[in-house]
Amino acid sequence: MLRIEGLTAGYGAATVLRDLTLSAAPGRITCLMGRNGAGKTTTLKAIMGLVRPQAGRIQLDDTVISDLSPHRVPAQGIGYVPQGRRLFGELSVAQNLRVGLMTRGSGAEVQEEVLDLFPRLRERMGQRADTLSGGEQQMLATARALCLRPRLLLLDEPTEGLQPSMIEAIRQVILTLRDRGAAVLLVEQRIDAVLAMADHVHLIENGRNLEDFDAAQLTRAPDRLRRHLGV
């Protein structure tokens, strides 16, 4: 269970998150929504330790991960799929996966499990990551994070700029992970995608909590979401 309590964080003198509180439970998909600049990406970076908190704490089960060195955070079982994929472009598909496998000392069997979810990557193992199509790059970014066998998976706009068939493939993988008991924290702008997947939505604005919706409220309140998001 991920718990963020009273998180204040930012870049240098600029504070982006202000007293933010949210949670993500195992076996559930939690969506983080908000307008551009609301602090969604910063929240994920703060969980990963890439942005240091000025106040508050981030806890995964019994471990306060906001007290750890940033490079020790992923070893707790946190996989991160960043916005824009951020693959190691000059490395091959196999080497990108190997970086993911090294994080928790995972072996070839984990790679095989991951490749079963993304069979297309099997044919591209020797290819440079930056020569893949956009959809394949998103698959690789997700596969690389799954190589950590994450109990918490953070995804930052994973369907951005993808064609419908790819969006569906990514969605299926997210649902599979949820069914396997992982906690999924998803930053997503597309309301239809959120309504189709989310068990819980945290809406934030200017780095602060604005409103929370559970699954039952979501089906009844898409208009409120649209109004908040300005779409």
């Binding site: 940033p70 490395l91 970086v99 090294m102």
Partner: protein, 308 residues
């Protein structure tokens, strides 16, 4: 001596310089490629390698070969450890900021240089090569009976100089294999490509930086050890070597190992040939002019990629 044999002699001298330069510039290129740090003190690590080789050779004794082997092992390790310590105590504390690291490494340059002057002195001192037999080189000429080989007077080299060329080639190949075939190399390349994402996958980036800074300095020190039986160890020998290394990495493309090797061969060979036929000063002038042309017409260097 005729032109042909004379040119061959110049090319051999150039090849020795190219080999040492390639080794030293590989260290500079590695440091910049992974850390984005322009290490102005790199020439001093080369000088420290040569000076430490002299100290080790005199402490060990027991024959030139044993003393040289001891120097070739101890000096790069000691210089590498010193550089890694400098990284952790200085560069890490200024967050590897590109501008502040330039100033910091200039400071490091002067500290190393002056400490060397105070302890080692201002004299230039040689280290005996482990072997140094003279090898006469053949040339050919067309005679009445066709192609004939002969040994012109003065056309020769030493077994040690040939060893320097071979050793540098083997070491550069070893660095290449280390970077492309090992887990540690993969970690360094991932850090080079995106240090934030490397952290997000559990790579301790600051430790990687310390290791890379140490390895880069160790390569410069190894180049210093290899050259000290040919040139002498002197506390100011790092200046020219640093200038040539920067020329090489700029022409080759900052951070590109392949480009560094090609540029080292180009600059080393042209320096050797121009120095023999004209003057060493003209060789430096032309190399610097070439850098200016590269910066104007192909700023990313011959093998570098344009920033996207």
């Amino acid at each position: 001596m005729e032109f042909g044999p004379y040119l061959m002699l110049a090319m051999l001298e150039g090849a020795v310089l190219a080999a040492v330069l390639a080794l030293m510039a590989s260290g500079l290129s590695l440091t910049f490629g992974v850390m984005r740090v322009v290490n102005v003190a790199h020439g001093e690590f080369y000088m420290l390698g040569a000076v430490m080789a002299w100290f080790v050779a005199h402490l060990v004794g027991g024959g030139a070969a044993i003393a040289f082997i001891a120097a070739a092992v101890i000096a790069p390790l000691a210089v590498g450890a010193m550089a890694a310590a400098a990284d952790m105590t200085i560069l890490k504390r200024i967050d590897y900021d590109p501008e502040r690291t330039i100033v910091a490494t200039i400071g490091l340059l002067y500290v190393i240089q002056q400490v060397t002057l105070m302890t080692y002195g201002a004299d230039a001192r040689p280290v005996e090569p482990p072997f140094n037999s003279r090898i006469a080189l053949p040339w050919f000429e067309w005679g009445e009976e066709g192609l004939a080989l002969y040994y012109p007077w003065g056309l020769s080299t030493t077994s040690y100089k040939l060893f320097v060329i071979a050793a540098a080639a083997v070491l550069i190949l070893a660095v290449r294999l280390f970077m492309t075939r090992t887990k540690a190399g993969l970690i360094m390349r991932a850090t080079q490509l995106d240090s934030e994402m490397a952290t997000a996958f559990g790579i301790p980036v600051e430790r990687v930086y310390a290791a890379v800074f140490g390895i880069g300095a160790g390569l410069a020190a190894l180049a210093g050890v290899l050259i000290v039986p040919v040139q002498q160890a002197h506390y100011l020998m790092g200046g020219d070597a640093l200038l040539l290394s920067f020329i090489v990495v700029i022409i080759g493309g900052l951070g590109s190992m392949a480009g560094t090797i090609v540029a080292a061969i180009l600059i080393g060979m042209s320096d050797g040939i121009i120095s023999v036929f004209f003057s060493p000063t003209l060789a430096k002038i032309l190399a610097t002019l070439l850098v200016a042309l590269v910066l104007v017409f192909r700023p990313q260097g011959l093998f570098g990629s344009r920033p996207r």
